[in-house]
C-alpha cells in the first residue's frame, strides 16, 4: 500500500519525540571524560631523565627538548611542545620509560595569540653544580682539596653570568 512507509516513519518520529533527550546543556552540564582521554600534556619533572625518547617517537617533531649536563646527570632545562602541530596520537606518552609524560583531561587549550600556543612544560636554569656532590664536598672541607673546588668555581661562574644577562627565564611549568 502506497503511503505505508510514510506512516511507519511518522510513528517512529512520534515515538522518538517522547523519548528521553540525549543532548546535554553544555557548558553547565558536561559528559564524563574517560580515563584515557588525550587532553593537555602534563610532565612530571621529577621523574623525567631527559632521555629524549618522547621527542624521537613523535611523528611530527612536536617536542622541543633541551638539556644540560650537570655532573654526571642530564638536567632538563626546556621542554616545549608545539601543540599546533600535535596529532594527539599518544606515541610520546607511550614511549616514556619513566612514566613521566601523561595526558590530562583538560581540553580547553585555546589561545588568543599564536605565540601562546606552544605548551611550555619546563623552562628553568640548570643548577651551577650537582646537588649530590655538594654533601661530600662539605664533609671534605677540613681537608684541603684544591682541584674539585676550582672546578666548582669555574662551573658556577658562567651560570651566574647567564642569569645576570637574563638569558634564562625562571618560568617553570604552566
Amino acid at each position: 500500500m502506497f503511503g505505508k512507509g510514510l506512516v511507519k516513519g511518522l510513528q517512529i518520529t512520534w515515538k522518538e519525540f517522547w523519548a528521553p533527550k540525549l543532548t546535554v546543556q553544555y557548558p553547565e552540564v558536561q559528559h564524563t571524560i574517560p580515563e584515557r582521554f588525550h587532553g593537555k600534556f602534563v610532565l612530571d619533572v621529577d621523574k623525567c631523565i631527559a632521555c629524549g625518547l618522547c621527542a624521537n617517537a613523535c611523528p611530527n617533531r612536536v617536542i622541543d627538548l633541551k638539556k644540560q649536563k650537570v655532573g654526571k646527570k642530564q638536567f632538563l632545562t626546556d621542554y616545549v611542545m608545539n601543540i599546533q602541530y600535535c596529532m594527539y596520537c599518544g606515541m610520546c606518552v607511550e614511549s616514556c620509560n619513566k612514566d613521566a609524560l601523561h595526558f590530562s583531561k583538560d581540553f580547553n587549550m585555546n589561545q588568543y595569540f599564536y605565540r601562546d600556543i606552544p605548551l611550555v612544560l619546563v623552562r628553568r636554569e640548570a643548577p651551577a653544580e650537582p646537588v649530590e656532590e655538594e654533601a661530600p664536598a662539605a664533609k671534605a672541607a677540613p681537608k684541603p682539596k684544591p682541584k674539585p673546588k676550582a672546578k666548582a668555581e669555574k662551573s658556577a661562574a658562567p651560570a651566574a653570568a647567564e642569569v645576570a644577562a637574563g638569558k634564562a627565564p625562571g618560568k617553570e611549568g604552566q
Partner: protein, 367 residues
C-alpha cells in the same frame, strides 16, 4: 529539430553533497548529464611520501587521517603489512581486540553513511537518529583508545592497550540494543517511498562492470558480486565467526545503501561473538617487537575489507628504520573510477543519490 548547446556546471568542491572537497564538472544537455569529470586533489597531503620520512610506527597516526570515519581499519591494514614484512605473529587477544574495534569502526562508518544518505535524499530525522547511535559507539571507542575519531589503536605486533574494566559489558549492552536501532533506520529510511523512488533503478551498475573497474566493498556487493575479503581470504581470526555477506540484486543506489544497512547487522553479530570468545582468552596484547624496527629488505602487500571496500598497503623496505616506499590502495578512490559513466543520462538530483551511494571519504580519495 532544435539545436541544443551544452554547458558546464561545477558540482563542488564545497557542495555538502560531495561529502568533502570533491569537484565534479558536469557537462549538461538541457537537464541531462552528458559527461562528468571528477576532479580530486583538494585534500591531497602526500601521505605516501610522508611515510618515507617517518619510521614504521610513526606512520600509524597518519593512516587514521585517510579514512577518518573508520580509522581502526586503516591502522589495521598498515600494521598487517609491516607485520608481514617482519614476520611478526600477533597474540590472540590482540587479534580479538582488533576485530572488536575494527567492526565497531565499520559500524560507525556505516551508520554515518546511512544517516548522511538519508540527509542527501531529504530526510533529516534519519540523519539525527543515526548520529545518536554513532555517538554512543564513539564514546566507547574514546574510552578504549582516548580518541573519538582518529583512534591510532593498532600497533605493530598488537594493539596499544587492553580494554578498560567493564568496557566489554557496556559494548555488549549496546550491541544487544543495536538491532532495534537498525529496525528504526529500516522503518524510517529504507521503507520510505520517497527514498525508494529516488534511489531505485538509479545509477545501475552491472556486476561485470563492477569487477572490470575493480570496485569493492558494498558498491561491488550491491551489484550482487559475492566478494568479501573477510570470507574469501579470511585474514586475522574472521574464520572463527559466523556471519553472512549481504548482496544486492539490481546494482542500483538502493541496493548499495541497503547492503550497508544489512552489513551493520552482520557487524553486530561478529562483535557479539567476539565478546563471548574474548572472555576465555587471556594473555599479552602485543608481541615482542624490537624498539627500533628495521625490517629486512623486501616488500609486502596486505589488504583488508574496510567499510568502503578493499584497502591495501604495499610497503617496501630497504633495511633501514624508515619505509622506502608505501603505496595505499584506497577503495574510495577506485570506486570513483566509474563515476563518469554511471552519471551519464541522469539528472542533477540523481548525482547526489549516486555519489552518496558510493560512500566516499575525501581523506582517502586524495590521500
Amino acid at each position: 529539430m532544435l539545436r541544443t548547446q551544452e554547458f558546464n556546471i561545477n558540482f563542488g568542491p564545497q557542495h555538502p553533497s560531495t561529502h568533502g572537497v570533491f569537484r565534479v564538472v558536469l557537462t549538461m544537455d538541457g537537464e541531462r548529464i552528458v559527461r562528468a569529470e571528477p576532479i580530486c586533489g583538494y585534500l591531497h597531503r602526500g601521505m605516501e611520501k610522508l611515510a618515507e620520512s617517518r619510521t614504521y610506527p610513526q606512520f600509524i597516526p597518519y593512516t587514521d587521517r585517510m579514512d577518518y570515519l573508520a580509522a581502526m581499519l586503516q591502522n589495521w591494514g598498515y600494521v598487517m603489512a609491516v607485520e608481514k614484512l617482519m614476520g611478526i605473529e600477533v597474540p590472540e587477544r590482540a587479534e580479538y581486540l582488533r576485530v572488536i574495534s575494527g567492526e565497531l569502526s565499520r559500524l560507525t562508518s556505516h551508520v554515518l553513511a546511512t544517516g548522511v544518505y538519508a540527509l542527501d535524499m531529504g530526510g533529516f530525522t534519519g540523519f539525527l537518529l543515526c548520529f545518536r547511535e554513532r555517538e554512543k559507539m564513539m564514546d566507547l571507542l574514546e574510552e578504549l583508545t582516548g580518541s573519538r575519531m582518529t583512534l591510532s589503536y593498532a600497533r605493530i605486533g598488537g594493539v596499544a592497550a587492553d580494554v578498560p574494566e567493564g568496557w566489554l559489558d557496556k559494548l555488549k549492552k549496546l550491541m544487544d540494543e543495536m538491532p532495534g536501532y537498525i529496525d528504526e533506520y529500516d522503518g524510517l529510511i529504507t521503507g520510505n517511498e520517497i527514498f525508494q523512488a529516488r534511489t531505485k533503478a538509479v545509477g545501475v551498475l552491472k556486476p561485470e562492470t563492477a569487477i572490470n573497474y575493480s570496485l569493492s566493498g558494498p558498491v561491488l556487493r550491491g551489484s550482487g558480486v559475492n566478494y568479501d575479503l573477510r570470507k574469501v581470504k579470511s585474514y586475522s581470526i574472521y574464520d572463527r565467526f559466523d556471519f553472512d555477506v549481504p548482496l544486492g540484486e539490481n546494482g542500483d543506489c538502493f541496493d548499495r545503501f541497503f547492503c550497508r544497512v544489512r552489513e551493520m547487522r552482520q557487524s553486530v553479530r561478529i562483535i557479539q561473538q567476539a565478546i563471548e570468545q574474548i572472555k576465555e582468552i587471556d594473555g599479552p596484547i602485543i608481541a615482542k617487537v624490537p624498539k627500533v624496527l628495521k625490517p629486512p629488505k623486501g616488500e609486502a602487500y596486505e589488504e583488508i575489507e574496510s567499510s568502503k571496500g578493499i584497502i591495501g598497503y604495499y610497503v617496501v623496505s630497504d633495511g633501514s628504520n624508515k619505509p622506502y616506499r608505501v603505496h595505499v590502495r584506497r577503495p574510495s578512490f577506485i570506486n570513483l573510477g566509474y563515476l563518469d559513466e554511471m552519471l551519464r543520462g541522469y539528472l542533477i538530483a540523481d548525482v547526489v543519490a549516486i555519489l552518496g551511494s558510493i560512500d566516499i571519504v575525501l581523506g582517502e580519495v586524495d590521500c
